[in-house]
Symmetry: C3
Subunit: 149 residues, 3 copies
Amino acid sequence: MTKPTRADPHEGVRYLTPEGAIEHTGTWTVGSRAGDYVFVAGMRGIDPATNTLVEGDEARVMQGFRNMQLIAASEGARLQDAVRLTVYVTDMGKHRPLVNKAQEEHWAGGPYPPRTSLEVASLNQDDIFEVEGTFYAPQGGENGGRDRD
Amino acid sequence: MTKPTRADPHEGVRYLTPEGAIEHTGTWTVGSRAGDYVFVAGMRGIDPATNTLVEGDEARVMQGFRNMQLIAASEGARLQDAVRLTVYVTDMGKHRPLVNKAQEEHWAGGPYPPRTSLEVASLNQDDIFEVEGTFYAPQGGENGGRDRD
Amino acid sequence: MTKPTRADPHEGVRYLTPEGAIEHTGTWTVGSRAGDYVFVAGMRGIDPATNTLVEGDEARVMQGFRNMQLIAASEGARLQDAVRLTVYVTDMGKHRPLVNKAQEEHWAGGPYPPRTSLEVASLNQDDIFEVEGTFYAPQGGENGGRDRD
């Protein structure tokens, strides 16, 4: 007998439009769920209330992580469920310390997920920081989707 | 009784060499399948017929998506099965609109997958655009690989 | 009857701290395991013995791959189990040949995983090369975690 405690993997990809997330502009959405993983698009320090960039470098970096967190949370993933972060900045020396500080606060002292930090030539809206996160959030019940006889 | 309707996850990673794809140059291949996911290498606007860059920025961006699409399709993944795109351009202001336009055509008006857009310092062959896509394409039969008794 | 040959997917993400890996500095860890996948943070040519950059471009690139390999291996993933590599360099013309050469050695002539190569503006410590790898390393026994009756 099959007990379908796990969401059918054949439902395919589900694109996410959680309440409170930033509004996307252009041909993309803020995140996806496929199987046990949640993929969040690169998030920047945009205030979802106004859909404009937050003022101040430190506040902006904080907001970027907050935006990512909200989207992940809408699928049951906590920051502690991040399997990978890729951080893009436009000034490594200036912004990397802000990223470290924001993560210390968001992750409450750690442990922290794997991270790759890159200085790129430019970001959208001439922004300074963007973070792309992948999360693990298994679906289904206690037995992890395995059948029980 | 076990009905092995799902490909054995222990078969490991399978590297893809679909007919009609561009020819890789160097130490890489165009894509991989592992479990329920398909990973396509960064694709640029190379014409697979000649293995040279397509002329014209707009046409080249279109071709890049087409190259990605073909590789994904070889494993049963449609563009609608993309879980994440990362788009690399060398001029955000100039190329991002072309990317949006190409996606509108390829995705037929949406919905669209999560996307991170980055301006990098340079791409191979001094190219202007590259897209890296990850897809979800569960293997196996109707019951999603779960056993039936 | 359930034979729990597969690690419970609900154990969540596990952050990796394998012996012999480089020491991370800052708010990150070197890798993670979630489900059947292993995610390795961007690795550079740091000597784990001294935690300082290896001298010489070619040796440094080689070391970066070696660092990635060690972390993947700690979870049972070989280089042949890589589903995707993203390679970041600061001079495409100068460093890409070194990457190709390092991969030829590490992968013993191939086949090679999908790879995206990007020239970024800068890397941490003004480094020249970084590689980010994702691996497939299914957990559990011969029957791939499926129940057997």
